[in-house]
Amino acid sequence: MQRASYLTIVLLLAAPLSMVLALSAGSVDLSLAQLGGALLGHGDDVASMVVRELRLPRALAAFAVGGLLALSGALLQVLLRNPLADPYILGVSGGAAVAALLTILLGLGGVWLVGGAFAGSLLSTFLVFSLSRLHGAWTQNRLLLTGVVIAAGWSALISFILAVSPDSNLQRMLFWLMGDLSYARYPVFGMAVLGAGLLIALALARPLNLLARGDLAAAALGENPARLRVSIYFLASLLTATAVTLAGSVGFVGLIIPHALRLISGSDHRRLLPNTVLLGGSFLVLADTAARTAIAPTQLPVGVLTALLGVPVFLFLLAQTRSQ
């Protein structure tokens, strides 16, 4: 309990640091003074433009996407009572991807791509919800199976679209599928959804602790598990939909960040959820900075970096806790 609170303080410091790093690193490296000037709006013109119009929106979008995915993952792991659950397990990203790829195939960009991805993820959310409730009780296994099967259906459609698309579209499509922040727009929208989502999730934090012990245990202590599950499902789906709309399917963050925190500081969701948002956000900001600069001028999709950075860190954590 103590440990998780200290961690919150550390993470509160880490988040702005990661932003500073993201804003100063890149093709034009900036000093802190230049950065300050650019942010306050009286620096030299190139630096101001680079920071305010390129790096700041991108870094904010990265933080929002990382936070959204990590929070969604933490919620879905409780909803499905399954440690393998990630934000994409129920097909939300698949629906978004099919719609996004179709807009790219049709040569539509910008607002069509964003709107299409969001609509696709909502469609998938409602499809899974209604199909999993068709007969009788809404159990976590039914939901999980329905979601996984729908996700498989989406991924078949994705393969189909990739197979029939002209070469000129393929790189854009693959980048979208791997998760890429270079086209990320609307960072303010992402941050707003993240803020509101975290607030709602925090109101559900104690009930989530109970739900982790089972539906009956939650009911016996005064919660309505059926209503709780529906709320969590739609909240997590909306968070994922927003993240996917901003940056495509960035992998790994939603699965590993909540688990890493559970390993370090326990599963009390009152502490876990805010920490998850902070760590997920900072982690993706750093991963995206690395994706931009590692083999510059080539830019990697950030999804490649999240796994490359995350896998060793997570395995280290796992080994640590096992030896305790």
Binding site: M1, Q77, V78, R81, N82, P83, A203, R206, P207, N209, L210, A212, R213, G214, L216, A217, A219, A220, L221, G222, E223, N224, R262, G266, S267, D268, R270
Partner: protein, 255 residues
């Protein structure tokens, strides 16, 4: 407080576990719920707790249908010790025990306050786990975990306690101590206990009343001495039972 059933039917697919049950449980009583495996003890307990809707008839708590209480209000009156608990993610003993305060806390209460913590620590001490607060649940033995679950119920402190096999996994000494704590310990308000047990002799020792479920819809209930008889138990468990008298009490043992 008083819990009543009115022409209560409990059915599971293909079977009636309990039909037209008119039970009245009042303050100060300790009821043993006995029956063979699969006779519906747990299902009955869940129905009485309002966790499951009756298939016919009604359950009332102080003359008011249990389904009319909000989930939160109900959890302040009726506490349930479930047969087993899932553990999706590891939590500590004290976190688990403090969750018993959930029905009393508003949604935005963050910090567990000193009173709650004191209650939780008292509860842990009363089940003999005073030094276990910061241990992770996964490191406990089955019996220790059972006592954590009982401590959680004590922290919830409801007047009505419905206990599904509370002494599962407990060693001999803790079986007695926990049953004594539950049946004679301080109880909030005008409360009572209903305890699912498999040990007839412990039921006879600690309970005032008994409810026998035969698994075919037949239920027998009343004062313990009237209900608990060798030939009834033989029919209940489908096994011959010997009755032994020692120290002025009757003991039942399988033949």
């Amino acid at each position: 407080m008083q819990l009543q059933t009115h022409e209560l039917d409990i059915r599971v697919p293909g079977r009636t576990l309990c039909s037209a049950l008119n039970l009245r449980v009042s303050a100060g009583e300790n009821w043993a719920v006995l029956g063979a495996n699969g006779s519906g003890k747990t299902t009955l307990l869940h129905t009485l707790a309002g966790l499951r809707a009756p298939d016919a008839g009604a359950v009332t708590l102080d003359e008011r249908s249990i389904s009319e209480y909000s989930h939160r209000a109900r959890a302040r009156y009726v506490g349930v010790l479930l047969q087993d608990y899932g553990d999706a993610f590891p939590s500590t003993v004290i976190e688990t025990v403090l969750s018993g305060r959930h029905p009393y806390l508003s949604r935005w209460r963050w910090q567990d306050d000193a009173d709650d913590l004191r209650l939780a620590e008292q509860a842990l001490a009363s089940v003999g786990l005073e030094n276990f607060a910061d241990r992770s649940l996964v490191t406990l033995s089955g019996g220790e975990r059972r006592r954590v679950e009982i401590a959680t119920l004590l922290t919830q402190d409801p007047p009505i306690r419905l206990l599904d096999e509370p002494i599962n996994h407990l060693d001999l000494r803790h079986q007695i101590e926990i049953l004594r704590l539950l049946t004679t310990g301080r109880m909030r308000g005008e409360g009572f206990n209903m305890v699912v047990l498999h040990d007839v002799n412990l039921a006879a020792r600690f309970c005032t009343h008994a409810l026998l479920l035969f698994g075919n819809g037949e239920c027998l209930y009343g004062k313990l001495a009237e209900v608990l008889q060798a030939e009834v138990l033989e029919r209940l468990y489908g096994y011959p039972i010997r009755q032994i008298e020692a120290e002025g009490r009757l003991f039942y043992t399988p033949a």
